[in-house]
């Protein structure tokens, strides 16, 4: 059951919530809508569900337009952020609810059999007689998923379903959701603002900002090959380091105060446009250099890091370590370069201390270069 979204727009008065959104979700695929709050991802989900009307464009489920179809005929199951379970009903009654109301209501006995099947799938059979109020967040989440699936919908929509759970539970429930969704082979759209969640659960991810889909790609492509500055900044933790550099056409270098990157050291095949064209864009508006925290390497410092091989990197500069943040396997080192606060990750056993002077080498081949509008050049 595929979902096709064509030129979808939504405006609230003057405010544009969605602008010309196009998306194709294949049968059985799990797609994440990812973006900061207010980016329009929930609006998009609610339009697909039929809880909001689009201002323009079309939504097709299985090739059939549904924008003028009542939600109940769309074959949709939905999980809301705060679950919206009925507090006065038992878990069993909650799961049975979609089967017991509306025109297609089935007999209690039949509904119970079907509800039990999905309660088994989500592992909540033992809670059948309890009220939602006496369940933990994770258990309530499972009830909500079971209720959304009990009608065997063509499409399952999840609206930030994990944001009310604590960190540890979130990890296990998201694996659980992926397992359940894949077991039922239901086409799923999952809305989240947590990139880690999206990366781990989604077959493909649509990154949204200001009502526009910035990039729709597989998780690894979003990280390794971002379409623009927004996506590059949004994906990855610690966040991408960015530097506004000017372009010196005579020396063919991206020039900054503390370091400069000669165009010659970049990999020509990685340019998004012919190099000559890219150079004229650079000359016109300068650029934003994006460096992932793992592409800075500490190559020398006060405590014998010097043998790390500064000569391996074409660009090396010295700086002062401001602070070091322990994450676990690795540490995040904070320093300032070119008036920007930078973060780089290092092995925790080789982490410097705050106040140390270090040499930083830049893995030039792996950087990203964006034009002044945030479009990707390299």
């Amino acid at each position: 059951m595929s979902i096709t979204i064509r030129h979808l727009g939504k405006r609230y008065g003057e405010r544009v919530a969605l602008r010309d959104v196009n998306l194709e979700v294949c049968d059985g695929e799990l797609v994440c809508l990812l973006g900061p709050s207010g980016c329009g991802k929930s609006t998009l989900l609610n339009i697909v569900a039929g809880l909001l009307d689009p201002s323009g464009g079309d939504v097709l489920i299985d090739g059939e337009s549904v924008v003028r179809t009542h939600p109940k005929y769309r074959g949709i199951g939905m999980v809301f952020q705060d679950y919206a379970l009925y507090p006065h009903m038992s878990v069993e009654e909650n799961v049975m609810f979609p089967l017991r109301v509306g025109e297609h209501r089935v007999a209690r006995r039949e509904a119970l059999v079907r509800a039990r099947r999905f309660m088994r799938l989500t592992g909540i059979e033992d809670l059948a007689r309890l009220r939602p109020g006496s369940l933990s967040g994770g258990q309530q989440q499972r009830v909500a998923v079971a209720r959304a699936l009990v009608q065997e919908p063509r499409v399952l929509l999840l609206d930030e379903p994990l944001s009310n759970l604590d960190a540890r539970l979130r990890l296990s429930i998201r694996e659980e959701i992926r397992r359940i969704v894949k077991a039922t082979r239901v086409t799923t759209v999952f809305v989240t603002h947590d990139q880690e969640e999206a990366l781990s659960i989604g077959d493909r991810i649509a990154v949204m900002d200001r009502g526009v889909i910035q990039q729709f790609a597989a998780p690894q492509d979003l990280y390794l090959d971002p379409a623009n500055l927004f996506v590059a900044r949004f994906m990855g933790s610690p966040v991408l380091n960015t530097f506004c550099l000017s372009y010196d056409g005579g020396r063919r270098v991206l020039a900054g105060d503390d370091f400069s990157v000669p165009l010659g050291v970049l990999d020509v095949s990685r340019f998004r446009r012919p190099v000559g064209e890219a150079e004229s864009v650079l000359a016109a508006g300068g650029c934003v250099l994006g460096v992932r925290p793992e592409h800075f390497h500490l190559v020398g410092g006060s405590d014998g890091l010097a043998d790390a091989g500064a000569d391996r990197f074409p660009v090396v500069f010295g700086t002062l370590v401001e602070s070091v943040e322990m994450i676990g396997r690795y540490a995040v080192v904070h320093f300032t370069a070119d008036d920007e606060r930078c973060r780089c990750v290092v092995d925790v056993r080789r982490a410097p201390r705050a106040g140390d002077r270090v040499l930083v080498g830049l893995d030039c081949v792996s950087v990203h270069v964006f034009d002044a509008d945030g479009g990707r050049l390299y």
Binding site: P71, M78, A84, Y86, H88, M89, F97, V101, G102, H104
Partner: protein, 302 residues
């Protein structure tokens, strides 16, 4: 003994996060008033129920007051009338106010205005409302009678026909109970998470299913509270009778109620003991009914 007082004073003076006996000092004035004006008279009611004679010369009379009261056909009628009033006005009042509350709560233009209008009766004196109702129900020029005559009913003399006085009283009682019920029910309706209805919409629940499967169960605590409050108030019905029938318990005592009977015995006839015995019987009945009701509600809500 003196040490005990000193110890107590020391404890009162010193600080403790969880025990602050000083609070009793602050409560004392209120407690004194409640004791003198509420608790003491309550005790006196039970004592006087077993006494007879004038207020200055009361003497023990055993169960004779109860025997006299329970044998009085007027008291039996008062109890029956009170029971009928309670059994009619409480459910009817709740159903009507629930319908009005749901109507006002729906996204209707100007629902705030209606809400304010519906609450006005609660702010108005029962006596003033009673005067208006006397006009509305008047047999000669009353609006109610006129409207009924338009659909071919009547004529009815609501205030002077003994067969109709209980009907009139019940209508008045229902109307009076609406305002408070609606305000409480509206607050309950507004507390329901709108998302619950969205989910129901998603699965195509009909309007009746939304009401019966979400609204009603969500309002259950409010309805329980109101039914108990309304029942107690209904058993205490007095002012309504007084104002509607101009200080009389209806023509030929047709609308006499329990409290009216107590009042009549005490102030009009001067049979203090019998009045108090009737009050004790009424107390016992209200107690039994309220207990039964809360048991019933507890069983239903399970």
């Amino acid at each position: 003994m003196a040490g005990g007082v000193r110890g107590w004073l020391a404890r009162v003076g010193s600080y403790s996060a969880e025990r602050q006996p000083r609070a009793w000092l602050l409560l004392l004035p209120a407690l004194a008033c409640i004791g003198v004006f509420n608790v003491l008279p309550l005790v006196r009611v039970f004592v006087m129920a077993f006494q007879s004679g004038s207020l200055r010369h009361l003497r023990f009379a055993g169960w004779s007051n109860f025997v006299a009261v329970l044998a009085d056909p007027s008291f039996v009628r008062a109890l029956v009338n009170t029971g009928v009033f309670a059994c009619v006005t409480v459910p009817v009042g709740l159903v009507v106010s629930l319908m009005l509350a749901v109507a006002v709560d729906s996204r209707m233009r100007g629902s705030r205005v209606f809400e304010a209008l519906l609450f006005v009766p609660y702010l108005t004196s029962v006596v003033a409302v009673g005067v208006v109702f006397r006009y509305l129900f008047n047999g000669d020029f009353g609006v109610v009678d006129y409207v009924l005559s338009l659909v071919g009913l009547g004529p009815f003399d609501f205030l002077n026909d003994p067969r109709l006085s209980m009907v009139t009283l019940c209508v008045f009682g229902v109307w009076l109970s609406l305002a408070f019920n609606i305000v409480i029910l509206l607050s309950g309706l507004r507390a329901i998470d709108p998302l619950l209805y969205r989910v129901a919409d998603l699965y195509g629940a009909s309007a009746w299913e939304r009401f019966s499967r979400i609204t009603l169960p969500q309002l259950a605590p409010m309805i329980t509270f109101l039914s108990i409050m309304d029942l107690i108030n209904a058993f205490k019905v007095y002012t309504e009778v007084y104002v509607l029938f101009n200080g009389m318990p209806g023509v030929a005592d047709s609308a006499v109620t329990a409290v009216f009977y107590v009042y009549d015995k005490f102030y009009v006839q001067g049979r203090y003991g019998q009045g108090m015995a009737a009050a004790v019987v009424l107390f016992a009945l209200i107690l039994v009914f309220t207990l039964l009701q809360s048991l019933l509600v507890r069983r239903l809500s399970r």
